[in-house]
Symmetry: C2
């Protein structure tokens, strides 16, 4: 029996369920990044995932796991980010409605993206209270199932399939760097990776303007994220009740990087690797290039996850 919200068996089940539905994303290498990091880096390209981020794995796993009766009523979430798009697309694939609660203040381009995937958007006040209230009302009205963005066993299991694939492609990794927002990706990936390779060292990556996981690790207890301030808009949230215990016990250390480091890394990825990553998607790579990470000894082959690539191309980020 697992100590955590999901175990390796649930992740392997998810991998079977998702085969042929999610993209098996490529693992890329770059001599430039190897040289700059002093290590051998293997980039798992979830920016190339359907709906543009790893979120499609967890959303699809959760949607697939619903009974036919529950599924018929649809799914709900409150998010303005990649989980909203992912859930809308996963629901459309199963032919069920997705009710997406977004704050009135969300950019028009994000609303359009969700609607482009067939999501039904309900606008609310830009407060967590009103988002939750509106989502609960939708559940009451429609009988739809709430699929939260990270703190859910099926979502965590889905995200963990990212690390299974990475280790299938590069079985002898010494370490892995994964960005931390709510912690769904790092929790799932840690459980998956340690089931195959118990000695693999897992490092978290956070923007210094939203460093709750780093502070929580330092304090030895869960701390919330208040007033985040970073360009990495996918990593603003606190870790969850299900994800924090995995981070607490199994993640060796959380590294933080500044917005300038994130922007510089992002540009380098675009320029040298020819891949579009969003600011949050570049945070793990920025850690890989940081002074602090260069100082970590005894690791050579490092997996780095590009978590997403949804950007606004009306302007550049630098």
């Amino acid at each position: 029996m697992s100590t955590y919200a999901c175990d390796a068996a649930a992740i392997r089940d998810a991998a079977q369920r998702l085969a042929g539905i999610v993209h098996r994303t490529p693992v890329m290498t770059s001599e430039t990044f190897n040289r700059l990091s002093g290590k051998q880096l293997f980039f798992k390209c979830e920016n190339l995932q359907k709906a543009g981020a790893f979120k499609y794995r967890g959303a699809t796993n959760a949607v697939c796991r619903l009974s036919a009766a529950a599924a018929a009523n649809g799914v709900v979430t409150h998010s303005s980010g990649n989980h909203a798009q992912a859930l809308a697309l996963a629901a459309r694939r199963r032919g069920i409605p997705a009710y997406i609660v977004m704050p009135k203040t969300a950019p028009a381009v994000k609303k359009a993206a969700v609607e482009g995937y067939g999501g039904r958007v309900t606008l609310c006040e830009p407060t967590l209270t009103d988002r939750e209230r509106t989502a609960n009302e939708l559940v009451a009205q429609t009988g739809a199932t709430l699929i939260p963005p990270f703190d859910h066993p099926d979502v965590i299991a889905g995200q963990g399939t990212t690390a299974l694939e990475l280790l299938e492609d590069v079985p002898d990794l010494d370490a892995m760097i994964v960005c931390v927002g709510g912690g769904g990706l790092i929790a799932g990936c840690t459980i998956a990776a340690h089931s195959l390779r118990p000695a693999l060292r897992v490092f978290g990556a956070e923007p210094s303007g939203a460093d709750d996981a780093a502070r929580s690790k330092a304090a030895g207890q869960w701390l919330p994220q208040t007033n985040p301030n970073t360009i990495a808009d996918g990593l603003l949230t606190s870790t969850g009740q299900l994800t924090w215990p995995v981070i607490r016990d199994r993640v060796e250390r959380i590294f933080t990087v500044s917005d300038d480091e994130i922007r510089a890394t992002m540009r380098l990825v675009w320029e040298r690797m020819k891949l579009i990553v969003e600011p949050s998607g570049a945070v793990a790579a920025a850690v890989a290039l940081s002074e602090a990470f260069r100082a970590v000894r005894d690791i050579h082959k490092v997996g780095v996850i590009f978590s997403g690539g949804n950007v606004n191309l009306d302007r550049l980020y630098w």
Copy 2:
């Protein structure tokens, strides 16, 4: 015996020679592009190739084929584009000098890129006459071997390995769209593809502002490109003595697209596929989305080559 400058055996030899040196680039798919084109498209991502373009294949093959004695004196080319960078990197890999002749007017960023790969840049007047004169002087002074950007059997054979890999990954393609500048890529890819799949239909893609191959096909004879005017700066040149016969005999048709179509396609590739392609690199994809190509009957699975991804990220293209 082959009618053309290189045959399938030379391309298979090149593939063996290049294994482990060039990236085996991934083949990507996109539901958005499938929907917009009405076909199933398979994108061969040479924008992810080393030095950012398919040119590294031909340059490396040519450099590897030099005898030790010839190689020791280095290689020369006159180019300000992707071939220059590719040749510099291929030469550095073999530990030999690369002398690159560039017009004084070439952007500083292109000069820096060549020098970043270890190339030794000689500036000349921005005329073909002075480029050739300067290159010939370098050959005379150094004993280096001239490696032209496309009209050379080893270069064509190297570029052809792109299609070998594409057909290994997607053996049942009905057709292939390849951009045409000097014609090295389409000539090599056509010979490779027809050796595996004689009925495969090959289509060329040109910007309407540099449509010499389309006009040549229409006229039934080689015509030069004069005064090209297009954003696709990798496709400005005329086809060559070795590449034109393959285009003439084996390419079914050349489609042209406007700069607006190229720009719109480029943005769509960045936005939906999360891949950086340069203007020239988006021309084949722009053809795939064009009205004229949609009207072609009896083809379903189409290979499309993203030829390169070297862009200037100081500004956007739209």
